[in-house]
Amino acid sequence: MHLELVSTKSANLYILEGMQKSIKPFLKVYDQIHFTLRKPISMVNKIRKETNHEFGFSFNIDGELKGKAIALIDTFEKNISKNEYHDLKAAIQEGLNIVIGNTLGELDQNIDLMSLISPPSFIDLEDNFSIKEKFDLRITLLYSIEFNNKMYNCRLYYLLDKKIYKQVCV
């Protein structure tokens, strides 16, 4: 028995397939906030805020996969009061923690790659935000989030570096 390093291409494919199996298509958090997957996984190059109507959260991922999970939520034409914004941020922060955490848990079960998330950092409406770092795998999903009878689009990015060793029987 020996350990074989799989090629970069097949390693990316391995993770991509694992993510496809692991993502949550629908999640209801405490009967208050609902996440529904609108667009499945696609590869992405640019990760940045498109308008100053977007806020977001960035979680570090650490373990057998390293990188970030970043979510950007669009509030364009939602007419949100200051109080509503406070509640929305709190609900989405915890909702994302659950969506991402559950996905990483499934990923561990599906393809045996264990990674954990950090507490998030907040990206405010006025903040400039873009990612210039290079990652082996840059994927995105689109969720719609329902909270307090309003719907929000949420772009969720997983930016991942990996070191995968596949065990092969000989």
Partner: protein, 130 residues
Amino acid sequence: MHGGCVNFKVIIVDDSEFSRKNISSHLEGTNFDVIAQAGTGLEALEILENSTIDIAIIDLVMPELSGIELTKKIFENKKNISVIMISSLNHESVVMESITAGASDFIQKPIAKENLLNSLNKISQISQEL
């Protein structure tokens, strides 16, 4: 812990205000009284120093002090308390690490009211028997 059929004092430790609020509302009208909430592990230690708490519901991933570190610190101080670890993660190693640190149970988020009450009832029953 209390003897007989009495109320249990609970602290919720989670950096998410939304989560604390919802867990707390799950426990309204039960014999588990949420007498304190903390957003960080350090805040929780301060509260635990000055009050008698029966059960701590602790989030695993928190800034400054993780749920596992907090649990270890609680038991270093030999607190007579039961810990339920909660997390969006459910990796086997994380569950094992939580139990090894001293947690009596591990519940994955999102937390269903029924699961939480089952866990609390089990823990309170065991502690009453001891």
